[in-house]
């Protein structure tokens, strides 16, 4: 991977294409669970890949950590712009998803998106990276710039917060 990144920095076309496909694959799964529409996830991922290429020469340190940081900032910008344009806040995401008809006894993608929006940024990052992107604790620690111990604590708190969210959600649906 490091060799591909270095070659891409020197504008090697093949390396650049390989790197873009790799990064797209990695980031799409991360962004997908953060936005409502698949089209938005695709657009955002594409923008992050382009941003990565634009500033590839300035990249230092852990590459995965760097691209996930770009993605994270891009998502924040996305919601900020939407809030400005349509006067909808981040809360709207929480309210919009899922549709009323959606069954609530088993976990679906949309219910998961709604739940992730209620977690802190770090908690939802840990859940996404661990359960949807299947990174191990060491990899997650490198990406997030934290220790493995901190990741374990975050994982525990995130699962607890999710559990609490779904418990309340089921209670509200039934009453």
């Amino acid at each position: 991977m490091a060799r591909i990144v270095e070659a891409a920095k020197h504008e090697d076309d093949d390396a650049l294409a390989k790197l873009c496909k790799y990064v797209y694959g990695k980031l799409f799964g991360y962004i997908y669970y953060r936005v409502r529409q698949r089209e938005d996830a695709e657009d955002l991922t594409s923008e992050v890949v382009l941003k990565m290429v634009k500033s590839l020469n300035t990249q230092k340190g852990n590459f995965l950590g760097w691209i996930y940081r770009i993605a994270r900032n891009q998502i924040i910008d996305f919601y900020r712009q939407r809030a400005r344009k349509q006067e909808i806040s981040l809360e709207s995401l929480k309210k919009d998803i899922p549709s009323p008809e959606e069954p609530r006894d088993y976990l679906t993608e949309n219910r998961m998106k709604e739940a992730l929006a209620y977690l802190t940024q770090d908690q939802s990052d840990v859940i996404t990276l661990k359960f949807f992107q299947e990174y191990n604790n060491e990899e997650i620690a490198k990406i997030m710039g934290k220790t493995v111990g901190a990741i374990k604590v975050l994982q525990f708190r995130a699962l607890k917060a999710l559990r609490e969210y779904f418990r309340k959600e089921r209670y509200e649906t039934r009453h």
Binding site: E11, D13, L16, A17, C20, K21, Y24, G25, F28, G29, Y32, Y33, R38, A41, E42, T45, S46, V49, L50, V53, K54, N57, Y106, L107, T108, E109, M112, I127, F131, F132, N137, K152, V153, Q155, F156, R157, L159, K160, L162, R163, F166
Partner: protein, 268 residues
């Protein structure tokens, strides 16, 4: 030793991933079973969620954007090879290059300004650099010397301007006489041989300025020579004044002495 609950959760998640049943896992940590059971079930549900698949068309679209950007950047680099060269250098080299460029521009501006005359583009830079030089000179003798040098420069400029267009520049006349007066004032702040040496230098300069003004007076074709006459008289009075200071027995009227010593010129 009792393990932290987050450690236990992580350990059990790994065990479940390997194929162990939740119930069997919890038997190992009965003290945490109640709290961990719903979390492990939730984790299993999360693992079962479908992983989002990427669409080849979407990846193709992203690649198309990247290629368009890279092609545009390559074109720009071809158009501006210097920009390309600098964009490839490390940040420290780029900063050093910018600093060097600023120093070069500053140095060449200063070099060009030394020969400039009033009305030239670089003349204000010359005056500013003189002021800076004066500010950064700390000792009194050095400041007095600078005053003499500046007075000498203004006198030279006055002559050159007169030779160029047959007119005398009043601002230069003011400046040359005022710089000499400033040097005189500096002598008061000194004592002993330093003061005497400076006064002798000012006396020489004053005599030179007087001769220059007399020369211009003879060649001047304008009808109003009153300013030049007044300036020549001032030089004469200053000469008397300096001689009196150097040789107190020579005797000079106090009001003449005061006028010559303190007068700042402001002819317009």
């Amino acid at each position: 030793m009792k393990r932290d609950i987050d450690e236990v959760l992580d350990f059990l998640l790994t065990e479940i991933e390997k194929g162990k049943r939740i119930e069997d896992c919890l038997k190992e940590f009965p003290e945490y079973a109640l709290e961990l059971e719903p979390l492990l079930r939730l984790a299993t549900e999360l693992n079962d969620l479908p992983k989002p698949e990427t669409r080849p068309e979407a990846i193709g679209e992203a690649l198309r954007k990247v290629r368009a950007f890279v092609a545009e950047r390559r074109q720009a680099k071809k158009r501006f090879p210097l920009v390309r060269f600098f964009s490839l250098q490390p940040a420290i080299v780029r900063v050093a290059a910018v600093v060097l460029l600023i120093v070069l521009i500053g140095w060449s501006s200063l070099a060009l300004s030394t020969r400039s005359m009033p009305g030239d583009f670089f003349y204000p830079i010359k005056l500013v650099s003189e002021k800076v030089q004066y500010i950064f000179t700390i000792n009194r003798e050095g400041k007095a010397e600078l005053r003499l040098i500046f007075a000498d420069k203004r006198t030279e400029e006055l002559v050159k301007m007169f030779n160029r267009n047959g007119k005398f520049n009043k601002e230069l006349l003011n400046a040359m006489l005022n710089e000499a007066q400033s040097a005189l004032s500096q002598s008061e702040l000194m004592t002993g041989s330093d003061s005497k040496m400076l006064l002798e230098k000012v006396a020489n300069l004053n005599q030179y300025q007087k001769k220059v003004l007399e020369g211009i007076r003879q060649r001047f074709c304008g009808y109003d020579t009153s300013i030049l006459d007044e300036a020549i008289v001032l030089c004469f009075e200053r000469h008397c004044c300096i001689q009196n200071k150097l040789n107190p027995q020579s005797g000079i009227e106090p009001d003449v002495y005061y006028r010559a010593w303190t007068r700042r010129c402001n002819w317009r």
